[in-house]
Amino acid sequence: MIKEISPITRIEGHLKVEVETSQNVVKKAKIVGEMYRGIEKIVENRHFMDPIRIVQRVCGLCCEVHGLASCKAIENAINAPVEPNGDKIRDLIICLNIINDHSLHFYQLTLPDYIDFSVLENVPLFLKNPPKAPDLIRDKIVAKKFLKKYLDSFKLRTRVCQGIAILGAKTPFAHAILVGGVSTNIRTDDVGFFVSLLNDVKDFLEEYKKDILFLAENFKHLFDIGKGPGNYLSVPHLYVPGKVLINGKEEEFDVSYVTEDEPKYGFIKTPRYKGYVVETGPLAECILTKNKEFYDLLKKLNVPKEKANSLMGRLLARYVDSLMAYRYAKDLVDSILAKGNNIYWKDPKGLYEGEGYGFVKAPRGALIHYIKIQDSKVKKYSIISPSTWNFSAGGPVEIALKGCPVESEDLVNVGRIIRSFDPCTACSIQ
């Protein structure tokens, strides 16, 4: 029997899934991306610095990572040096972006899959119609508590975004991120703001930890579904090394092994590493770095290590990633100098040529930008975003969906598995 979820809500963008089921279990899944803009094509033949601002518009959620990846690709192509303080400021922007993104994913996009808010009076229209899952938590007290957290997280994000704006002019789409650093002048009082902001983030992360553990305790059966391919990839940036794990063998990440095919169906391209399907994202990074925090949490939950590769494992890893980003941000704030001139500017009117890659650890995993510059114009531009890796035809998500139990018409667990990868369709199809 073929069933589908169209549209998949609570994700970024337009996505549908078709699943072939037999005896209430998914046998085969097909993920189809349904929106295309052709941004890689749009930047072709434009001035080589334009992609920074235009490909940033690939996604309104992970915009800062695209901006930085684009800068890095251009810097790599034209051999542009980066002002060290400016580089740190750019990394701090990315850390805040990661915290912002994971908080949205957990509180707004994930929670309604597990907690029925419609048991409460006076809930907004969009929360009134939860997926029909037999295991949904329907306790009024729990729902009330989590609705408050749901709404409070908007405030934290507003604050985090103020921080990004101080460093990057504004957000979404921080325009101060440029080739060679950032244009922003950092003042002493700005540093004070970040000390206070990171204190708020710390408090928030403590709550987040409690909440994710509560969810994991109550949905332990979700450590049994959503097993991905078991091959992982990460690119070198921030607190993550460039590593690949294929069939249990670990190696250094080398971009020359990355291949990219045209989409088989829908609009999502199919990237592979040495021909293998690889998963990327916080789970991949926790496993590749043998993250202690992550494995401690599993231990606390009495979940064996092998079950890390699962739906709930991914949600857990996303919390750990927020924590890593917070710690890294804290170190950055301690070392960033309050000063002006945070950029080594390359005059855009010069004549440039070359090709280069930019690697960024995005909230959803490995982000790669490639640019080829000829006569100071973009000859070719290519983006492999984390969601392209995960959502390609035959890719990690389709593998993870195999064997997923289908208990209701609403395909709740199918939706949960897909959301555990935090799909960003706009990113996967530029």
């Binding site: 052709g38 419609s118 119609n129 504004k170």
Partner: protein, 307 residues
Amino acid sequence: MKTTRRELLKYLGSLAALLGLPKSVGKAYAETLRKLKEGKTKIIIISGQACSGCILSATYSDGPFFDDLVIMIKNILHPTLAASQGKNFIKELYKVIDEGDYILTTEGAVPGEEKYCEFGGKPYSEILLDAVRNAKFLVNMGTCASYGGVPAAKGNPTKAMSVPEFLKKNGVNIPYVNVPGCPVRSDRILATWLYIATFDKLPPINQKINAPKMFYEDIIHYNCERYQYFTQDIYAKKPGDKFKCLLALGCRGPITYGDCSYKRWNCGKNYCIAAGTPCIGCSNPKFPFDKPIYTSPQEVLKGLKIQ
């Protein structure tokens, strides 16, 4: 921390002042919020060739906080927030559409070919036409919906167009307003909704770009904190240069309407020109322009059509 009624009235009073209305209108707004809370005003947001930047930006607001607004505007529907999924979401959406009398808000451009944007088994264009049919007002949120934006940039592989252009092509007439920006800034969209809900009509618009006067009456350049350096011909050689005009780096402030220079972004924390990076004209109907973004002032001024 919940916004208190007192704080809210204060905020609404300042909103009223911004619109050039007496402060007492703040009370009218409060009345509107009560109506919203009772579920009498509905807002549907649908998204086409978009990046979700606009809806997210709308939530990065500090007065009123978006969470208060969510509680107040009980009847807001957006696929990124909806608990329901698949057919149930489409059912929910069409139920609100059938009831009619809502403010329709669009995010993103409309592709020229249906296959480039589908949603719930239907082309986006079809959903848009269905939703427009019963809508009372149309608000185009962000530059893509308003003017085409990035998807409709030079080359335009999907023949993307703005929502007004698409509706004109299909012979549909509806009172609409554009709230451009890439993305839209939260207070711009929240206040536009509030105005429409309070006065049951569209806010006064700047006819040149069909956008609310309250935010887009003036050219960014004229209120720019670096205007004095422009008048003295002191130009920046690189981004981040202090006390210099950014025109020589390709600043689009002189050709773009907006209030960025005094209201700034992200709750007033910063904005492009203050951060030393030129305005790229993200609320300009021509954004992202054919000419290079970081270009010479001659190229910027060539397109200059002020007043």
